[in-house]
């Protein structure tokens, strides 16, 4: 069930099928992302692939007839057109076409997958007048494998008016089907009952499973289950500041396809303008991505001390600034430690952002708001931070959002007062409106429209804001709701009311292989949760996916998009 392995198997098959010789890989935008997440340059060289070209690049050069061309594309209409053209005037010697077929847009209505695939292939075959194509295959490598247990579909805003954007629904169905086929699982499906989108997706998946039943005939000795959940049930997790390395980098610097852009950092050297953070190829990162910020500093310090001992040098390494200095003073360390010095830069940048924006202070209050109930104290603190000009506007807004989610139904809440404070500070309307947006997206009212009675709602609220228990770090008190859901599922105690099975068949055994998919995007904090659950429960395998991997910035966009065009129930009385 390792997703990275699953995709690597496919890519290896593609390259081996064409036999020995120099190869060029012809891809589209999305497949380029898929491949670049998997391989480093030297790894792909081992497969004799030396050139990477985009099918939509409009440079027409003479071509190299002695190259074998592996075409790895998603068969969209445009890609098929590009490829037809390419075959009419082939640039390379022979072609091996690999693609994924469940995602032609015309299949949206009735999933006549084979018929559509045949039409595409016919078009291609008729363009291949020079007989350059050797093989045409369909591989199910249509998702971004971020780690062995985590995948994304790269859809940043999947809903509109709190319903599926049909294009994204289709992309999600094909992505999920691709995941299932690549790891050969035909799962039972459970979905979050309160979510219309979850139900829709579950039905679509089942439709494909039954229409393509012969594709899904594997011998399965385990009981796989696909659990579809909705981000709207836990809007808190993506709003919080993060303190474990990977999550923190994504929150503060944004990870895109394992790449972090540092070009905005003052005085950054050319080779560090964009750094790659890949657990597959960077041992330091692999060992530290789930550690918290403090521990990473400690690890780096130890490495530097080790180096000094060997080099008989002495320089004190007490702070992150010292570390940066160290790397500059000893260029040799940079060379020897390989990726470590890259992380010194990243950690340094994180630390300066934390300091500049007083994120420890903000985070402390965030954690309190999400885990404790002390209305007047918290209200007081929020007011102070809103009036503190050193706190970023967006952080102030996030605090108000958390407050609104927590105390929406509290009789004496002062949401309006806080909104006025924000306005007085000159916070833009767009940001202020986000507070209404999140209530629309995921407030209690939104949940009340579901089949829950008041008591159940209260319980859910408690789940989200559960009390502090034995947590020593005040910045990491919060655990995502997903943790509880999955624990219940593993124990076989997950409510059939809140997460019904699709269809009448139910699983008799406890689940072993679990595929969780979060509509509206998952987070690295949740990825860590799943990682820990995998560690704690040998014998149980969980993989997590989302329409995307959110940080707070992208999540706020998602909310804005999701609630656009909705008649808001929330009115600002003072306006």
């Amino acid at each position: 069930m390792n997703l990275i392995t699953a995709l690597k198997f496919y890519i290896t098959r593609m390259t081996e099928e064409s036999g020995p010789g120099m190869k060029v890989l012809l891809m589209d935008k999305q497949t380029t992302s898929i491949v670049s997440l998997l391989y480093s340059q030297s790894e792909i060289f081992l497969k004799e692939v030396y050139l990477f070209e985009r099918i939509d690049a409009n440079v027409r050069n003479e071509g190299l007839k002695h190259l074998k061309c592996i075409v790895f594309i998603r068969p969209t209409k445009e890609n098929i057109e590009y490829l037809c053209n390419e075959l009419r005037y082939p640039k390379y010697g022979t072609y091996y076409i690999c693609k994924y077929y469940f995602n032609n847009f015309q299949t949206l209505r009735n999933f006549k997958i084979n018929i559509i695939a045949k039409a595409d292939i016919k078009l291609l075959a008729e363009s291949d007048e020079q007989e350059v194509v050797r093989e045409v295959h369909e591989y199910y490598a249509d998702y971004l494998a971020i780690s062995p247990h985590l995948f994304s579909l790269g859809i940043n805003t999947c809903s509109q008016g709190l319903l599926w954007n049909p294009v994204h629904l289709h992309r999600t169905v094909s992505g999920l089907i691709s995941v299932l086929l690549s790891i050969k699982k035909c799962p039972y499906i459970r979905y979050q009952n309160s979510s219309e989108m979850a139900k829709r997706l579950a039905e679509k998946i089942r439709e494909v499973l039954s229409k393509e039943s012969n594709s899904f005939e594997f011998k399965q000795d385990s009981c796989p289950i696909l659990l579809i959940v909705d981000r709207r049930d836990d809007p808190v997790t993506p709003l919080l500041n993060q303190w474990t390395y990977q999550a923190m980098v994504h929150e503060l610097l944004t990870i895109n396809n394992n790449r972090v852009n540092l070009s905005h950092v003052k005085g950054i050297s050319k080779e560090l303008r964009e750094v790659v953070l890949s657990a597959e190829h960077d041992e330091f990162y692999a060992n530290n991505l789930y550690l918290n910020f403090g521990e990473i500093g400690q690890t780096i310090k130890e490495l530097m001390d080790e180096f000094q001992k060997k080099a008989k040098k002495h320089q004190k390494v007490e702070s992150i600034a010292d570390m940066k200095n160290f790397v500059e003073t000893y260029p040799l360390f940079k060379k020897l430690s390989g990726t470590v010095s890259k992380h010194v830069t990243v950690v340094g940048e994180l630390s300066s952002l934390v300091e500049k924006h007083h994120l420890l202070q903000v985070s402390e209050l965030e954690q309190e708001l999400s885990c404790q109930s002390d209305h007047s104290m918290q209200l007081q603190k929020i007011k102070e931070l809103i009036n503190n000009q050193q706190i970023r506007e967006i952080d102030a807004v996030r605090l108000v959002m958390l407050y609104a989610l927590h105390y929406e139904k509290y009789a004496n809440n002062d949401i309006n007062g806080l909104l006025n404070l924000l306005k007085n500070r000159g916070v833009s309307d767009k940001y202020v409106k986000l507070v209404y947006n999140i209530l629309e997206y995921s407030g209690i009212n939104a949940r009340q429209s579901n089949l829950f009675d008041r008591e159940a709602v209260a319980k859910i609220t408690k789940k989200l804001f559960k009390g502090l228990s034995g947590v020593d770090n005040i910045y990491t008190q919060h655990t995502p709701l997903l943790n509880e859901t999955l624990e219940d599922l593993i124990k076989g105690k997950l409510s059939l009311q809140t997460f019904p099975y699709l269809g009448s068949t139910m699983m008799s055994k406890k689940p072993q292989d679990i595929i969780v998919f979060m509509i509206g995007g998952t987070t690295y904090e949740e990825s860590l949760t799943v990682h820990n659950l995998n560690k704690q429960n040998p014998g149980i395998k969980i993989i997590l996916g989302g329409t995307t991997i959110h940080n707070s910035a992208s999540f706020l966009e998602e909310i804005q998009h999701a609630t656009s065009g909705i008649l808001t129930k929330y009115k600002n009385n003072n306006n």
Binding site: N2, M22, F45, N61, E138, F218, L303, G338, K541
Partner: protein
């Protein structure tokens, strides 16, 4: 790694990790201190070229330091890496369907193309020089369509008039305007229809996955059609005749449609003849890489065994292998360097951007290979050191044997005690034979390759023959770098020698 107290940068000797500030000094150091291995010196000299300075530097020092990284950071172990192995996911092939469609379509094309080629051949055969005769000849072979009904050029759809006259394609007989026709020179036409070329069509084309018989049938279709076609043409288009005769001696006028068909076929043919030089270089380089990887694997095995003080492999063999690897590395370096500059000095046809990128990437991949595979090959112990290692091993073995013997002794004592007690208790028990001698595998019971015939002690000649056979095998195996086999064969030879020796002894005493 343990010895390097100070970490330095510069021109480092890869063997003793000392900095020599400049390449000249480094080379001198080599000649002074490591001259026991002139071959290695030679190849390393080259590897110290500017391009590899960086790699080596990093490689050697990092060796001392990098090892400490995992020790401090290897805390986390991803639980996913413990998941059971999985198989490749679902796949579906559309190749069959694709080829069905393509063949259906190409069948049509190639029938048409074959027809054109046969016509072309007939046109060229006894082509009259006189324009009027020639026209008759042409029209006998390819009937021209009646141009009265043709109002528009079928290709560009423009109407004909005095300035845009009608012309006939000599290959299909259709009518079109001047702009939509081209002239095929007689010379080119002859080339196209030459027997070699015609044969090529079935032998070389990538369609050859289809049975040849099918392709012959396809050509046959063209023939029968031609035979059935009416040979008389209607007399018309005097204008075009006059017009054509002006410059048609060395050409056939043909339409663009027919030209495209012929052109596509020529391209197909050409494709198989142009395999650029880079391919040869590349294939050679890959072959060297493959060989080097195999050798490195063998070498590492030998290195480990030798450093354990074992005598499975010969030290000299390992040294020879190391030289071989260094030489292969040198070759890989050279070839990849040549690939990277391929054609860059060519003025009239400089390599295009993509080609340059390709060559550069091949070079980079070779550098990575050299760095990761070959430069990590570790030095062998010196002969003296090896002798020491062997002695150490001997001591270890002796110590272990002594220890085991002691254990055995104790065990025996204990069981004796036990048995004594048992016999005491159950008096009738027959006393078991004690002190069963330890089963010691004697030398002659050993193993050997199945190809070696069983030893016949009755006659001596077969043994001598066997021994010389074995020596030949060993030589062969050594030449092929199959050192595992060398080890086995050598132990066989030793056995044989000892058997031979004892037999000789007994024979001598007998006689």
């Amino acid at each position: 790694m343990a010895g390097s107290e100070e970490v330095l940068e510069g021109f480092l000797c890869p063997i003793c990790v000392t900095d020599f500030k400049a390449p000249i000094q480094l080379t001198k150091h080599f000649e002074d201190f490591h001259n026991d291995d002139p071959e290695i010196l030679k190849s390393l000299k080259d590897l110290f070229g500017k391009a590899k300075k960086k790699i080596l530097k990093q490689d050697e020092i990092s060796y001392s330091f990098a090892n400490s990284i995992p020790s401090t950071t290897r805390l986390q172990r991803s639980p996913e890496s413990n998941w059971e192995p999985q198989e490749i996911g679902m796949m579906r092939s559309h190749t069959k369907y694709f080829k069905e469609i393509r063949n259906m379509r190409l069948e049509r094309y190639s029938t048409e193309t074959n027809k054109l080629l046969i016509r072309l051949d007939k046109l060229l055969n006894n082509l009259p020089t006189d324009p009027v005769d020639r026209k008759v000849h042409e029209r006998t072979i390819v009937p021209w369509i009646d141009d009265k009904d043709v109002k528009l050029c079928p290709i560009c759809a423009k109407s004909f008039h005095v300035a845009r006259r009608k012309h006939h394609c000599r290959l299909c007989g259709a009518v079109m305007c001047h702009n939509c026709t081209i002239f095929l020179s007689l010379q080119d036409a002859k080339k196209m229809t030459s027997p070699v070329s015609v044969q090529d069509d079935s032998a070389v084309s990538p369609t050859s996955e289809r049975p040849i018989s099918e392709r012959i049938v396809r050509a046959g279709i063209g023939l029968t059609k031609l035979a059935r076609s009416p040979s008389s043409g209607s007399l018309n288009s005097v204008l075009s005749l006059v017009n054509d005769s002006t410059g048609s001696e060395q050409h056939f006028r043909i339409c663009t449609h027919c030209a495209n068909l012929l052109d596509a076929r020529e391209k197909q043919k050409a494709k198989h003849f142009d395999k650029p030089i880079v391919c040869q270089f590349y294939e050679k380089m890959r072959a060297y890489m493959k060989e080097a990887s195999q050798h490195v694997k063998m070498y590492n095995k030998m290195w480990e065994s030798l450093n354990e003080g074992e005598s499975t492999y010969n030290l000299e063999d390992a040294q020879a292998l190391r030289i071989k690897i260094a030489k292969l590395g040198e070759n890989i370096d050279l070839i990849s360097k040549r690939i990277s500059v391929l054609g860059t000095r060519c003025v009239e046809n400089p390599p295009q951007d993509q080609e340059l990128r390709l060559h550069h990437m091949v070079r980079v991949s070779a550098m990575i290979f050299l760095k990761e595979e070959l430069l990590s090959v570790q030095a062998l112990p010196s002969e003296e050191r090896y002798a020491e290692l062997q002695k150490e091993r001997q001591r270890r073995i002796e110590a272990r044997i002594a220890y085991e013997r002691q254990l055995e002794e104790e065990q025996r004592e204990r069981s004796k005690e036990q048995r004594r007690k048992e016999t005491w208790n159950l008096e009738i028990r027959p006393i078991m034979k004690e002190n069963q001698p330890n089963v010691v595998l004697d030398q002659s019971q050993g193993w050997g390759p199945s190809s070696v015939a069983p030893i016949m002690p009755s006659s001596m000649d077969p043994i001598i023959e066997q021994m010389s056979n074995l020596r030949a095998y060993i030589k062969q195996a050594r030449a092929d770098c199959r050192y595992d086999e060398v080890a086995t064969l050598e132990s066989n030879l030793k056995e044989l020698q000892s058997v031979y020796f004892t037999m000789k002894q007994s024979n001598n005493s007998d006689g």
